[in-house]
């Protein structure tokens, strides 16, 4: 196991913990995108480029797009921005 794969694995675990503990939903989705991207690099290191392409397109692309639209539909983004303006803790 070389240094790069260890770094990527640590990054993935860090992302998973960050998603669990982050208060801001928007942050969660962006971190989730980063985790998917690191996962696709790991697939390349494991010599399965097919899975890497699918992971990058679905995990980092479409999944987070749908999550963004859902956040917008439930007006979570507007609420977070409004709370930030009033100096409250965004939740």
């Amino acid at each position: 196991m070389n240094v790069l794969s260890v770094l990527l694995l640590v990054f993935i675990i860090g992302c998973a913990l960050a998603v669990a503990f982050a208060k801001n939903l928007l942050t969660c989705i962006v971190v989730f995108m980063g985790q998917s991207l690191a996962m696709s690099l790991i697939w390349i290191l494991l010599e399965s480029p097919d899975l890497a392409i699918t992971e990058a397109a679905v995990g980092a692309g479409i999944d987070s797009l749908l999550l963004f639209v859902t956040l917008k539909k439930i007006h979570a983004i507007d609420r977070m921005e409004g709370e930030k303006e009033h100096g409250q803790d965004p939740q």
């Binding site: 480029p49 097919d50 392409i53 679905v58």
Partner: protein, 328 residues
């Protein structure tokens, strides 16, 4: 007092019998009776002073319990809940790690996965299917029937989202909701964003080229219908975000979505239906694999890839627009 309670008071046995007879409503009736009971006369009040002290006592206990619930109980339950969460998570983690430790080492020659099936795929896959990309040969030739099921799962998912989220242009209620959704969409969406439009003008053709390349070269290089279709759909979504619904509806409407996905799925199902008659043995068909490495080779695989890619691209785009404004 004990006699009064056993006759009229809510003893557990009486409650149980009442509940058996009439379900939950007996409790509601008991509550209504207790609230709307007529005020007792002077004589009754004197007689039942002892009895009335009991409810006051009960009320005190109840108040106390409520206060405890409010002040300490919530905190306690939250702590208990957290502790249970941690314990459950640790148990699951331990179970999974134990299972992973019991697995045979990765890449060992004597692993159960290294049997004659994968050896056959690796050694004769290119010869039998004509696909240089062994994964495409597997999922679209050896296991083409499974892939048909997967495409159908995606199609059924799209149908379900349409049933749940689509607001049809039918009766008047729906028309009102449609208008509301559209104004809502217009309010929260940036229109004619110049930066986004310029970047999309550069990126969208590249993304579409990449998607088409991944689909068309599915049997030659890594990729295939599913990933290429997702890239195509993502490009379509970027185009929609930059230029708005008016531009995309010139070439992609609900009708386009319906026609493309149904045609592609039907083509897939018909072209692979002969495996019903050959006993799922796809290999002895009249379609020859051709020369491996050429664009037009590998029998039906490129065409199946195109069909799957079209279905996936349409579904991804339809998901996005349905989530956003309730229509394709």
């Amino acid at each position: 007092m004990a006699r009064i309670r056993s006759d009229y008071g809510p003893s557990p046995r009486r409650n149980f019998l009442l509940w058996l007879r009439s379900g939950d409503e007996c409790f509601d009736r008991a509550l209504i009776d207790s609230v709307s009971a007529p005020a007792p006369s002077e004589a009754e009040r004197g007689r039942s002073a002892e009895v009335r002290r009991v409810p006051r006592k009960e009320e005190k206990v109840y108040r106390k319990a409520e206060a405890w619930n409010r002040e300490k109980g919530t905190k306690l339950t939250r702590r208990l809940y957290l502790a249970l969460c941690v314990v459950t998570a640790l148990a699951v983690i331990l179970l999974l790690l134990r299972t992973a430790a019991l697995l045979p080492p990765f890449g060992e020659a004597s692993n159960p996965a290294n049997n004659e099936v994968s050896r056959r795929y690796i050694e004769q896959g290119m010869e039998e299917t004509g696909a240089v990309n062994i994964v495409a040969g597997m999922i679209l030739d050896y296991r083409a029937f499974d892939t048909l099921g997967e495409s159908n799962v995606l199609f059924v998912a799209a149908c379900t989202v349409i049933i749940l989220l689509r607001v049809a242009a039918g009766d008047r209620d729906d028309a009102a909701r449609r208008l509301e959704l559209e104004t809502d969409d217009r309010m929260y969406e940036p229109k004619d964003d110049l930066i986004l439009q310029r970047i999309a003008a550069v990126l969208v053709p590249l993304v579409w080229m990449l998607g088409l390349y991944i689909i068309l070269n599915g049997h030659l290089s890594p990729g295939g219908g599913f990933s290429g279709g997702t890239v195509l759909g993502a490009g379509l979504i970027l185009y929609l975000n930059a230029f708005g619904f008016a531009k995309t509806e010139r070439f992609f409407t609900y009708r386009t979505f319906r026609v493309i996905s149904v045609t592609a799925l039907t083509f897939y199902a018909v072209s692979k239906s002969y495996s019903f008659f050959t006993g799922a043995n796809h290999l002895s068909s009249v379609i020859t694999p051709g020369t491996p490495g050429m664009l037009f080779s590998a029998g039906l695989i490129p065409y199946l890839n195109i069909a799957v890619g079209l279905v996936v691209a349409c579904t991804v785009y339809a998901f996005y627009t349905l989530f956003r404004k309730g229509d394709v």
